[in-house]
Amino acid sequence: MLLDATDEELMHAYVDGDAAAFETLYGRHRVGLFRFLLRQVRDHGTAEELFQDVWHKVINARSRYQPQARFSTWLYTVAHNRLNDHWRARRHRPDPPDDADARVQAVTDTATPERELSAFEQRRRLQLALEELPAEQREVLLLRLDQDMSLEQIAEVTGSGRETVKSRLRYAMDKLRARLQP
């Protein structure tokens, strides 16, 4: 029964005291949330710390869960806020330089036609391209491509307007395509 329930139903069951419902919910979002955090902070230990904090916030704030909101939206909103706290505390997120786009265009492509890129190399280049993205664009890209969220959901999670989210997503896609072009 728990496997067929929606996230919201599971959360309601957990609020009513069903610990097994939380385990099912946790299993659904465990990998996705951790990957979202890891790809932002790029450090496994820090990602685990933030991951644990996010779930503790969910547990402690379960009574304030609004049933009209989707659970994934609520969960990633909590994660977004925790990430912002992390950036603010660590000052790990400097503003992107004004010539960020030019720098991306100027990146020399080490891949020569003569070199057959392995799958490993392609993944590495994608990882580097992600890291070079501004944080706002990377977050929107990950929420859209990795978490399958709609623009409206991303706007709700990040607290931004839908058009802002759309613009950030477009910029991020362009940079990735440019970075990954052979």
């Binding site: 929606t6 610990a19 385990e23 990998v31 009574s63 659970f71 993944r123 395509r177």
Partner: protein
């Protein structure tokens, strides 16, 4: 990630990029983190502290309730605090109260008199009142004891409360009516000098009159200070009996009178031996009896 809420379809470019992203090595939290989170989810929800305003509101409501009750009970307490006679438990309160004006005292006394006149005396009912007492018979010590109360309370000696004076069926009551004054009834509450109501020695047995004080007798005496607080019952006061005369004219036991007269008759007839024998027999049977002087000569 939730299959229950499928998001809008990705464009071709987005789908291709999503496929590449998912091909990246996906990290996962360690088992320790999983265990810690699941353990935290099973922990009981911490009890929320009760807001402080609830305690404050409860205290304020209780205070208002107490003040309201006291305010509503004030008239009742006022009536209870004005008894018709002093109570042994109230001297401190009475002394602490400011003295009332003479007009107010007179009005209060009048009101009490009317109220008592309207109420029939309840038989056997004890009220904490003292009957009027004669100041002429009171000893100086009693006068000294009466003075503080006289200053603090209005004179109440003429109050009809005396009409409901204690009728104590099981206790002897001595009421001496002298003119219009009721003198020296051993009141249940009065604690004046017991000698005041004790008959004089060597006097004839005092007339014991069991009668209730008439309204006229109550109205007659002038205002007197109330009796001082005293215990409800004082046996040494109420159980006063006339002293037994020890003289020849007052045989202690009336039952002995015929035998004594018979012995005297034998003495007058000159039958001294027989009279002496009967006298000795009488003394043997009643050793506590005091032999009269006229008969004592037979024993010499």
């Amino acid at each position: 990630m939730s299959e229950r809420h499928p998001s809008p379809a990705l464009s071709a470019a987005e789908a291709d990029m999503a496929r590449r992203l998912r091909a990246l090595p996906a990290g996962a939290p360690s088992a320790g983190v999983d265990a810690a989170i699941l353990a935290a989810s099973r922990a009981p929800r911490p009890a929320r502290p009760r807001p402080l305003w609830i305690a404050g509101f409860a205290a304020a409501a209780s205070l208002v309730l107490v003040v309201g009750l006291v305010w509503r009970m004030q008239p009742t307490l006022g009536q209870l605090d004005t008894p018709s006679a002093p109570s042994p438990h109230q001297p401190a309160l009475r002394d602490a109260a400011p003295p009332a004006s003479p007009d107010a005292n007179a009005a209060a006394a009048e009101a009490r008199r009317e109220r008592a006149a309207a109420e029939p005396p309840a038989p056997g009912r004890m009220r904490p009142t003292a009957p009027p007492q004669s100041t002429a018979d009171a000893t100086p010590r009693a006068q000294a004891e009466l003075e503080p109360d006289a200053r603090a309370t209005p004179p109440q000696s003429t109050t009809p409360v005396a009409a409901t004076a204690p009728e104590t069926p099981k206790l002897p009551t001595q009421v001496i009516v002298t003119g219009t004054r009721v003198v020296g009834p051993p009141s249940a509450t009065a604690n004046v000098e017991p000698a005041r109501v004790r008959p004089k020695a060597n006097a004839a047995p005092p007339p014991v009159v069991f009668e209730e004080a008439s309204p006229m007798a109550i109205e007659a005496p002038p205002p007197e200070p109330p009796a001082p607080p005293a215990p409800m019952w004082e046996p040494r006061d109420v159980l006063v009996a006339p002293a037994e005369p020890a003289g020849a004219d007052a045989p202690s036991n009336p039952l002995l009178n015929p035998e004594i007269e018979a012995i005297r008759q034998l003495q007058r007839d000159g039958r001294h031996d027989l009279a002496r024998a009967r006298l000795r027999e009488l003394i043997d049977r009643h050793p506590q009896w005091t032999v009269p002087d006229d008969l004592r000569r037979l024993l010499e």
